[in-house]
Each structure stands twice: as structure tokens, then as C-alpha cells.
């Protein structure tokens, strides 16, 4: 072993007036703290979405179960998917973008630290807003895809779907702001010497994801606003009665929805591409190919949306074209899998928990990828579409893929974040329990789909012949929380008592392992020089020097600010006002069924709330722009 990297110790004492305690968390603009807040909040939503899933599985454990009502069951699967996609997996990934990307590119923070805080607060408020619906008795029940016409006021009178639309608009704003922020951060804030092709693959995948976000969220935003206008002011975008088209919604939703799949999975692929080389003690095999296949997946991801619509009747030409593009995505995905296996080939594999989760990711994601190839073929998809086969597929991709990858990332970077190692024994128990449980939960869903069980059904009949595999699946699903409890105990215990990690517990290759654990508030005493794609490895095992053994004379960090929270509250209030409008319309329709939406006057409470939101937003933005930063 050669020279141990120099640890950065705080070069400056924090400013005397630095806020402390809860106020510090509320006003922080530090990417690391924001990353932690994203992680903890998203994990909370992950548990909530998990509880929803457990009730779904409990209802389906036997035929003709009457545990929950049809309406509540429909709300549960709507909110389970909405929660897992928008409130759990996306923001868990965002936690890693926030914490890890600036460290890996040798930056002191993201490009726009206050915008970063703004994104987090919007995410939190949007998540709370959409879940407020449960407390008020109107949980959204139109499916996470909210197909018109069912999601229109004519077929969903209650304000339930208003919560869904409004919540997603707030969350989308958060994602867009974050997307812009991370694109600028990655393109502009890399340390000297870090060319694009020297960026860690996790940073690359983050960059691809941010482009997907910035290009795809405007599309769903258009759809959401159209749906909101249909529902609250009586426009007619998706109702065929007056010339609208329900398929327009499907196009808008899936033009967003398919890139969204890659928004969910590419971060995990990036993490796996960090973890596998570290614990194989080799560089990532064919790193440029892994990067370019990630970019290609991002491009192709915009050209496949209609494979969600093979049953909708778009005609043979469209079906054939979208089938071909969809199958093509299998090629760069396959390239990644082979490169990961080749990374391990000839390596010296250390099966830490992080490594186990990454290997588990490859195995499970392969299953999900292959079943995806199956329904890329429309003749097969006409059998599998909207059946449990697709439910199996998305859970292998999102739980077996994204969540396993995220856990790999948690075990890998936890020591960097906390300065302490997670217990490896408990970690392996967690991995084993989770790996076994999710296969028991999700593999039988393939059989249910082949046996003709449609998805989103709150009940089935004894005569359908689906009870055995539903029972097995429910048992598996209820085993998943056991592993999670072990994980949470591990985090709780290790964060305070775990062994000290040191700067570089895994013998890593990238810049974050060159600084102390946890990192100092300014990350790097000096901005490093990046000589290669594995800077720290080459400093340890080669003759590269990062130049971290000096100290910049002046380190500027932006001061805390509560303005992003004010602005976020303003945005949320403006959108949230439409919930008042939704409740107004619902009350009106109960009194006078059949009245048109246009005939229902805007209430003064609605108008006052919009006005308040606008004023708060403008105040927040104005003071934010003129806030002194020195």
C-alpha cells in the first residue's frame, strides 16, 4: 500500500453566527444535509408505500377477501405506485445525487445551493399534500397512470384525483428545478482535470437522468395541467363527447412515463457501476461502453412510449415500430450486464453487503429485463398487458433493480456519510431476507399473469384458480419488512456505535474516499487535480497526485437561507388552491348532480388562496434574489 490519502480537516471554523439545531436543517443549503433530508424523507415515504403494499397483499391472500372495500383497495394500489415512484425511488436517488455527486466531481456544493433546498421543500410539501388526501377521506383512486376518462370529473366526482394531479404538479416542479441544478453542477463544477470521460459512472448516470427529467417532466406537466383544467374549470381535453381524446392523455403520460422508468433505474445502475469495481478491485470493464449504453438507453427511452398502448389500437405500423425500438433497448441493457460480469471476471471479489446487493441487482434486474423483452412483442403483450405478469416485471425492475441498487449504495456510502461502518453481519442477514422474500413475493406473479389474473383487481374467485400463487406472494411480501427492520436497527445502532470507518474503508477509487468521513462542511480543503478516471486509486497504487495536501486560502460557502422554503410554500399554495376548487365542485355536484363545471362559481376562498400563494411565492423569490450571499 502506498501513501494514505490526505484527509481534509475543517480548514475554517464554521462562521460564528451559524444556525444550529432544527433551524439549521430548515435553512440549510449544504448539499450533504439536503441529501440526508431527501434520504430520510424518502425512506419514510418508502415505508408508507410499503404498508400500502402489505394491505394490498393481505386483501389478495385468499379469494373473496373482505379486508378492505373495493374503493379503498383501488386507492391503495394508486397510492402505492404513486408513492413508490415519486416519493420513494426518485427522491432516494436524489439523496445520492445530492450527497455523492459534488464529492465525486471535487466540488464544494451544487451549482445552485438554494435552488437545491427549494427542490427538497417542494418534494416534501408535494408528498405531504398528496397524502393529506388520506386524512381527509379522499385518497386518489384512479390508478397511478390516471387514465382519462376515468380520471375526469365526470367519472371521478370526488376531489381524490385533484390531490393526485396537484401533488404531482408540485413534485414535478421540484424534479425540474433539481434537474437543471444537477446538469449545471455536473457540466460546470467538475474539478480541474476531470474531463467528461473521467467522471465516475454514477455521475454520468446522474447526468443522463437529469436530462431525462428536464425533457420528460414538461410533457407530463402539460398533461397534468390539461387534466386539472378539465376537472376544475370544465375544459375538454380528454373527453371524446366534445372532441377530446382519452388517448391524448395516454400519449402524454407515457411520453413521460417511459423515460421515467429510466429515471428510476439508471441511478441504481450508476451505483452498481461504482460498487462492483471497488469490491472486485478492478476498474469498471469497458467503462465508456457502460456510459454510452446509458446514454443510448436515455435516447431510446423517448422512442418507446407506445409499447404501453399496444392494446389501445394504434394500428399495426405503430405497433411494429414501437415493438422494434423497445426490443432495441435490450441491447445496451445487455451490454451493461455483460460489462458488470466482466468487471468481476478475474477480480478479487469481496462480498461485503454492498457487493451482495449489487450482485443481487444484476440477477434480479436480468429477470425484469427479460420479461420486458417478452412484452415488447405486441402479440405477446396482448396476453400480458394489464396482467400480473406485468406486475411481476415492474417489481423485478423497480424492487429487484432500483431498490436493491439503492441499498447497495446505502451500504457503500453510509461510512462516508456517518463516519461509521454498518454492521456487516446484520447487513448480510438483511440482504438474504430481502432477496429471498422479494423472490417469493414477486416470482409467483409471473404465473398469475400467465394464468390470466388481471392487475388492479380487489378480489377474485375461488374458481379462477389463482389462490395458491396469491397466497405464496402474500407470504413473501410480508417477509420483506423483516429484512427492513434488521436494516433499520443496523442503521440506528451503527450510526452511533459502529466501528470508525476512516476515510477510505473500501479502498475506493473516486474522490469522495479521499476526504474525511463524514466530509467537512466545505468538502475539500483544496480543489483536487484529477489525473485519471480513478484518481484516488492512481494516487494509492500509481504515481498520481490529487494535490489535496494544501489548503485553499479562502473557501466561500453560501449562508443558510429560509427563502427557498418560503418560495416552495408559495408554489404549493398556488397549486393547493385547486384542491379547494375540487372540494367546491364536489359539494356542488352532491347538491345538484348534473351541473356543468363551468356553471360552478369560483369561491372566494379559492381565489384568496391563489392570491396568497402568488404573493408568498413572489415574496420568497424576490427576497431570495436579493439576499446577500457574503
Amino acid at each position: 500500500m502506498s501513501a494514505t490519502p490526505l484527509t481534509a480537516h475543517p480548514a475554517h471554523a464554521p462562521p460564528a453566527a451559524a444556525p444550529s439545531g432544527i433551524w439549521d436543517w430548515i435553512t440549510t443549503v449544504d448539499h450533504k444535509k439536503i441529501g440526508l433530508m431527501y434520504g430520510v424523507t424518502a425512506y419514510g415515504f418508502f415505508l408508507l408505500g410499503g404498508i400500502e403494499a402489505l394491505v394490498i397483499r393481505a386483501q389478495l391472500v385468499k379469494p373473496q377477501s373482505e379486508l378492505v372495500s373495493a374503493q379503498f383497495f383501488n386507492a391503495l394500489f394508486t397510492m402505492h405506485a404513486t408513492t413508490m415512484v415519486f416519493l420513494a425511488v426518485m427522491p432516494l436517488s436524489a439523496a445520492f445525487f445530492n450527497y455523492i455527486v459534488p464529492l465525486q466531481i471535487g466540488a464544494r456544493d451544487v451549482a445552485f445551493p438554494r435552488l437545491n433546498a427549494f427542490s427538497y421543500w417542494l418534494f416534501l410539501l408535494g408528498g405531504l399534500l398528496i397524502n393529506l388526501s388520506f386524512l381527509l377521506g379522499f385518497p386518489p383512486d384512479g390508478g397511478w397512470f390516471a387514465y382519462a376518462s376515468l380520471s375526469e370529473r365526470m367519472y371521478s366526482h370526488s376531489p381524490a384525483m385533484d390531490y393526485w394531479v396537484v401533488g404531482l404538479l408540485v413534485l414535478g416542479t421540484a424534479s425540474l428545478a433539481a434537474g437543471v441544478n444537477f446538469i449545471v453542477t455536473i457540466l460546470n463544477m467538475r474539478a480541474p482535470g476531470m474531463t467528461m470521460m473521467r467522471m465516475p459512472v454514477f455521475v454520468w448516470m446522474t447526468l443522463v437522468v437529469q436530462f431525462l427529467v428536464v425533457l420528460s417532466f414538461p410533457i407530463i406537466t402539460v398533461g397534468l395541467i390539461e387534466l386539472l383544467l378539465d376537472r376544475t374549470v370544465g375544459t375538454n381535453f380528454f373527453l371524446p363527447l366534445h372532441g377530446g381524446d382519452p388517448l391524448l392523455w395516454q400519449h402524454l403520460f407515457w411520453l413521460f412515463g417511459h423515460p421515467e422508468v429510466y429515471i428510476l433505474i439508471l441511478p441504481a445502475m450508476g451505483m452498481v457501476s461504482e460498487v462492483l469495481p471497488t469490491f472486485s478491485r478492478k476498474p469498471l470493464f469497458g467503462a465508456p461502453f457502460v456510459v454510452f449504453s446509458g446514454i443510448l438507453i436515455g435516447f431510446l427511452g423517448f422512442g418507446v412510449w407506445s409499447h404501453h398502448m399496444f392494446t389501445a389500437g394504434l394500428g399495426p405500423v405503430a405497433d411494429a415500430a414501437f415493438s422494434a425500438t423497445t426490443m432495441l433497448i435490450g441491447v445496451p441493457t445487455g451490454v451493461k450486464i455483460f460489462n458488470w460480469i466482466a468487471t468481476m471476471w478475474g477480480g478479487r471479489l469481496r462480498f461485503t453487503t454492498a457487493m451482495l446487493f449489487s450482485v443481487g441487482f444484476i440477477a434480479l434486474f436480468t429477470i425484469g429485463g427479460l420479461s420486458g423483452i417478452m412484452h415488447a412483442s405486441p402479440p405477446i403483450d396482448l396476453h400480458q398487458q394489464d396482467s400480473y405478469f406485468v406486475v411481476a416485471h415492474i417489481h423485478y425492475v423497480l424492487f429487484g433493480g432500483a431498490i436493491m441498487g439503492l441499498f447497495s449504495g446505502i451500504y457503500y456510502w453510509f461510512p462516508k456519510v456517518t463516519g461509521r461502518l454498518l454492521d456487516e453481519g446484520l447487513g448480510k442477514v438483511h440482504f438474504t431476507l430481502q432477496f429471498v422474500a422479494l423472490n417469493i413475493a414477486f416470482f409467483p406473479m409471473h404465473f398469475l399473469g400467465v394464468d390470466g389474473m388481471p392487475r388492479r383487481v380487489f378480489t377474485y374467485d375461488e374458481a379462477d384458480g389463482w389462490h395458491l400463487w396469491n397466497l405464496v406472494s402474500t407470504v413473501g411480501a410480508w417477509m420483506i419488512p423483516i429484512g427492513l427492520l434488521v436494516f433499520m436497527y443496523n442503521v440506528w445502532w451503527s450510526a452511533r456505535r459502529g466501528p470508525r470507518a476512516g476515510d477510505d474503508p473500501w479502498d475506493g477509487a473516486s474522490l469522495e474516499w479521499a476526504i474525511s468521513s463524514p466530509p467537512p462542511v466545505h468538502n475539500f480543503d483544496a480543489i483536487p487535480n484529477v489525473p485519471s478516471d480513478r484518481p484516488l486509486w492512481d494516487q494509492k497504487y500509481g504515481d498520481a497526485t490529487l494535490g489535496l495536501d494544501r489548503r485553499d486560502p479562502h473557501i466561500h460557502l453560501p449562508p443558510n437561507s429560509y427563502r427557498p422554503l418560503i418560495a416552495a410554500a408559495g408554489v404549493t399554495t398556488v397549486f393547493g388552491a385547486f384542491l379547494i376548487r375540487g372540494h367546491d365542485i364536489y359539494r356542488h355536484l352532491l347538491d345538484a348532480p348534473g351541473s356543468t363545471i363551468q356553471s360552478i362559481p369560483f369561491s372566494s376562498l379559492f381565489l384568496a388562496t391563489v392570491a396568497t400563494g402568488v404573493i408568498v411565492l413572489l415574496y420568497g423569490l424576490y427576497t431570495w434574489f436579493f439576499e446577500p450571499v457574503e
Binding site: S69, S149, A287, A320, G330, L356, A363, T366, D386
Partner: protein, 340 residues
């Protein structure tokens, strides 16, 4: 490390369990199984279905074998130093780009052929059936035969049938698994499903697109009959209800009027029972089930349904003007069961 083979065991166990379970799953008795095929369309898609299934399974086996080998073979045994730092190999990259590409082409060609073959227009002489998806039941109309029925569609074996699939409210999906998959019923559009059934018998299907509260209870029956039996069924369905089932003085038709049923339901032959919102009940007693395939069509089910439609079918749009008395329930039950 002592525990390094664990992933190998997990992966191997998962594969073995999956394959065994797959066999069991295929053999289980599920009437809606996509693996039973009973039409030319189902036969047509079968080739692609199996080809793609086997290719993906084979790729899966190769990847899992490689992964298992690598995980076992290259585990850290405590050797000195660091392994050789291999950065990549362009030939290998090209190989594992081209092989998946070749497999994709192998799957895409029969896929595209099947797509166009299945989209061929219905042949002359096909039995035309208009399937209308409604929350939460199916109306079937035979425009050329003058028959309208609900939730139970009869077709002749060996004769092409051409479904025109439409919706009256939200998106539904007509899924008859053994006849070649599903097609959506999209408001404002007409979709087509054409096939020729092979064997006679009773088959089940279900709405596949989430369509609101009782989506799970939107089932349907498909009865494939010999041509002669089908023609007999058509004649029976075309006939209006018999005189004493429409005469206004009789208790049955009277209860049907006073219960408000006429607002939504049609009993052909009775001019005031002309509602078109709910299912046509002219021959309701001839059907095997009520409530769109969820209850056997007998007196007990009928009573249950009439007492509380919403309790049987959450969100049911059958809103009774008043809660029916037991007397009314009984009269209506007897009446409806006579509408053969």
C-alpha cells in the same frame, strides 16, 4: 470470506424454484390461462409467444450461469496484491452487442409478421358483434342478427367473428384469454378483434383495463356453440318476451314498473320497459350468470342482487329509487327468472 458462496446458492435456488414452479403454474387449473388456445388468432400468436419465451429463458440461463461462475470462481481467497487491472476489450464489447442484436432481430421479424397478420380485416361472412364496455358490464349487440344481450356472448365454432369494441364511458379492455389476447374499449374509438373459435364450450374473460370501483367484477362469458345451436340461440334471443311477461296487469311487469326498473332496462315486447342504460333483460333468465359474470343466475343470487346491488358490486350504477320490500324482491325474482 466464508460466506461468499451464499449468493451462488441464492441465485441457484431462485432459478430452480422458478423453473419447477413454472411447470406447476402451467399445469394448474386456471380457466383464464393464457396458455390454453382456442382460436386461429391464439394459434397465430402462439409461435411468437413461445419463441420469445424460450429465447429470453435461454439468455437468462446463460447470464445466470456466467454470474454464478464469476461469483464463485473469483471470490477473494486472501491472495496477495491486487488483480490485473483490465480496462476492457473492444472485441468482447462488439460481440456482446451483436449477439443481443441478432436475438432482437430473430424476435422482431416474427413479431412484425404476426402483428400484420393479426390486423387483417375481418373476412366476408364474419359474425359481427359490437362489444360495448360500460361501468361495470359488457353489452353485446349483433347488428346483423338483431340481438342484444349482456355479459354472455355466444359465437359459432368454425365461423369467423368480428368484434367491434367500443366504450360508453371510460376505458375498458375486452380480454378473452383463450382467443388471442385483449383489445381496449376506448371512448370515441372503435377497436377490432377478429378470430375463428375452434372448440365449443363455455369460456371466461374479464375486463383488463382498470375502470373504477368494480373493475374486478367486470367479467364475461363466451359460449362457443355448434353453428346450428348458435342459430337456435339467435332465434330465441330475437323473440320478444311472452305476452304474460309484458302484460301490465300481471304482478311481475307491475313490480318491474313500480320498482323503477323500466327507467334503465329493456324487456322487448313491453313498450314501457324500454330503458337502454342497464342490461337488456328480455331473456335474462337464459344467461348463466348475473351481475356481469359474478353470480350464478338463480333465485338466491337474484334476491341478493335486488336487495342491495351496491353491496354485491361496489359503486354499482343501479340506483334503486327506493329500497325494495321483500315482497317486491320476491315478485321481481320470480318474474326475472321467467324471462327465458
Amino acid at each position: 470470506m466464508s460466506n461468499s458462496p451464499r449468493p451462488v446458492r441464492n441465485v441457484a435456488a431462485a432459478v430452480a424454484t422458478s423453473l419447477l414452479a413454472a411447470l406447476a403454474g402451467c399445469m394448474g387449473d386456471a380457466p383464464q390461462s393464457t396458455l390454453h388456445k382456442n382460436s386461429d388468432l391464439a394459434d397465430m400468436t402462439w409461435g411468437v409467444y413461445m419463441l420469445v419465451t424460450w429465447i429470453t429463458l435461454a439468455v437468462g440461463v446463460v447470464v445466470f450461469a456466467l454470474l454464478a461462475y464469476v461469483v464463485f470462481r473469483f471470490r477473494d481467497r486472501g491472495e496477495e496484491g491486487i488483480p490485473e487491472q483490465v480496462h476492457g476489450n473492444t472485441r468482447l464489447e462488439i460481440a456482446w452487442t451483436l449477439v443481443p442484436l441478432a436475438l432482437v432481430v430473430a424476435m422482431a421479424i416474427p413479431t412484425v409478421r404476426t402483428i400484420f397478420a393479426a390486423a387483417a380485416p375481418a373476412p366476408e361472412g364474419a359474425v359481427k358483434i359490437k362489444a360495448v364496455g360500460k361501468q361495470w358490464w359488457w353489452e353485446f349487440e349483433y347488428p346483423e342478427l338483431g340481438v342484444t344481450t349482456a355479459n354472455e356472448v355466444h359465437i359459432p365454432a368454425g365461423v369467423p367473428v368480428a368484434f367491434e369494441i367500443v366504450s360508453a364511458d371510460v376505458i375498458h379492455s375486452l380480454w378473452l384469454p383463450q382467443f388471442g389476447g385483449k383489445r381496449d374499449a376506448v371512448p370515441g374509438r372503435t377497436n377490432h378483434l377478429t378470430f375463428t373459435a375452434r372448440d365449443t364450450g363455455n369460456f371466461v374473460g374479464q375486463c383488463a383495463e382498470y375502470c373504477g370501483d368494480s373493475h374486478a367484477l367486470m367479467k364475461l362469458r363466451l359460449v362457443v356453440q355448434e353453428e346450428a345451436d348458435f342459430q337456435r340461440w339467435v332465434q330465441e334471443q330475437k323473440a320478444p318476451a311472452q305476452g304474460d311477461l309484458v302484460a301490465s296487469g300481471k304482478p311481475g311487469p307491475k313490480a318491474f314498473l313500480e320498482g323503477g326498473c323500466i327507467a334503465c332496462h329493456q324487456v322487448r315486447g313491453n313498450p314501457i320497459a324500454a330503458g337502454r342504460i342497464g342490461p337488456d333483460l328480455t331473456h335474462v333468465a337464459s344467461r348463466g350468470t348475473i351481475g356481469s359474470g359474478i353470480l350464478d343466475n338463480d333465485a338466491e343470487s337474484m334476491r341478493r342482487w335486488l336487495r342491495d346491488p351496491e353491496g354485491v358490486k361496489p359503486g354499482s350504477l343501479m340506483k334503486l329509487p327506493h329500497k325494495l320490500s321483500e315482497q317486491e324482491v320476491e315478485t321481481l325474482t320470480q318474474y326475472l327468472l321467467e324471462l327465458k
